[in-house]
């Protein structure tokens, strides 16, 4: 077993290990907003030296720590699993911690602004309450009836696979705040809420699908979606959001799930 197998080094691995430390000059153009100071948002440019393989979040940290401590944003895990730092980078929703500088064209100023459709409270921080309200409104928890079994409920691998994609959601709101319908109508449930409804509607153990579908049959429910696919493009977890929405729509039409 202990025969060497790691001779085959790819160029990619070599490049990583060589640890190129060639720094480049980048400009970050950040849309700042602090109502304690000024009633309007302003764009502020920051110049810094970065390794292009670093994350946009690293750049924001560098700005905050070395240039301007007042820059404000949310972050926690720094590797794309907590969902804190969805923001609009070069015009598209992404997680700052999952976006490498080299992938967003550092030749030109990189624009960073808050996600759209939720009230901006300060700099890149938005009010998440309406977002979580929509989530809560789809009853995102297992609904069952009858006595609990003593052991686990059985579920075949195929049944488990049915809703695997939508269990990955980290509630980052990148999808909902990329949706053109949501920008104009914040009462629309939005893709994230539908994704989380999908996660339960198609769970073989759940018995609340009817109720949830009824909720989404609402005027601001799933019929509001215009299949613009921005949500699917934006999802940092690679969830096929639009597909999930279509499945919910079809389940509503056919009442089969």
């Amino acid at each position: 077993m202990s025969t060497p197998t790691v001779e085959k080094h790819s160029a990619a691995l070599d490049a990583v290990e060589a640890g190129s430390t060639k720094l480049i000059n980048v400009t970050f153009r950040i849309r700042r907003f602090n109502p304690e100071e000024h009633p309007d948002p302003v764009w502020v440019d920051y110049q810094l030296e970065m390794d292009p393989k670093e994350r946009v979040l690293d750049a924001l940290n560098k700005i905050k720590w070395e240039q301007d401590g007042t820059l404000t944003y949310r972050r926690s895990c720094a590797h794309g699993i907590c969902g804190s730092d969805a923001m609009r980078i070069n015009g598209r929703n992404r997680l700052a911690c999952k976006t490498l500088i080299k992938d967003v064209n550092p030749e030109k100023p990189i624009t960073v602004e808050a996600i759209k459709g939720l009230a901006v409270l300060k700099d890149l921080i938005v009010d998440m309450d309406p977002f979580f309200q929509a989530y809560k409104d789809v009853m995102p928890f297992l609904i069952t009836s009858g006595n609990e079994p003593t052991r686990e409920r059985l579920q075949s691998q195929a049944d488990r696979e049915r809703f695997d994609d939508t269990t990955k959601c980290i509630l980052c709101a990148a999808c909902t705040s990329s949706c053109p319908v949501f920008w104009n109508d914040g009462q629309y449930f939005g893709p994230a809420a539908i994704v989380n409804a999908h996660r339960f509607i198609f769970d073989s153990r759940d018995e609340g699908a009817e109720q949830r579908l009824e909720v989404l049959n609402d005027r601001e429910g799933v019929w509001r979606c215009r299949t613009t696919f921005n949500c699917s493009e934006a999802c940092p977890r690679g969830i096929e959001v639009t597909k999930a929405i279509q499945e919910v729509k079809r389940a509503l039409v056919t009442r089969r799930f």
Binding site: H38, D40, G117, L118, A119, P130, V215
Partner: protein, 162 residues
């Protein structure tokens, strides 16, 4: 929206002193707020399938319209010299046949309903105030009924010998 973006780009290290505007706590007064945010009271269940039926209708009518509209365009605008041939006589000739009468009638109804339901969506999206939305939809409704009724009357009461 009127201010030039460029003018407000300020060099880093300058603007933000954190001192505030000196008006107590102005924070509440200014937020970049979207219209119509969801609140705890938002879900007003409609409990009807109206939206679903409208959605289905859009798709069904769309598919049927492909045949009707494209057929219509083909005949009226492309075949036989295109638009130059169209005249009262041409219309009279067409509507002499119940087939073309039905064709145009169906097309009228489907297209109008499809179109006005589509417009309803557009209004729902862009009209932010409840009152505006109500007015626009009212207007849309009147226009739709008027058009459909007028069109239907025209097709049925058409008199080639006027």
């Amino acid at each position: 929206m009127s201010i030039e973006t460029k003018d407000l780009v300020v060099p880093s290290l300058q603007a933000h002193t954190g001192q505030g505007l000196g008006t107590g706590n102005p924070a509440e007064a200014f937020v970049v707020e979207p219209a119509r945010a969801r609140t705890k009271k938002t879900p007003r269940r409609t409990r009807t399938n109206f939206e679903m039926l409208a959605w289905l209708f859009m798709r069904l009518s769309g598919v049927v319209l492909v045949v009707l509209v494209l057929g219509h365009l083909l005949i009226n605008l492309m075949l036989d010299g295109g638009v130059s041939k169209i005249s009262f006589a041409f219309v009279a000739g067409r509507w002499a046949s119940p087939f073309w009468q039905m064709w145009d009638l169906l097309m009228l109804w489907l297209a109008m309903l499809h179109g006005s339901n589509g417009m309803r969506t557009v209004i729902n999206d862009y009209a932010e105030k409840d009152a505006t939305r109500l007015w626009l939809k009212g207007l849309l409704g009147v226009a739709t009924v008027f058009t459909v009724v007028l069109g239907t009357l025209v097709i049925f009461t058409f008199d080639p010998n006027i």
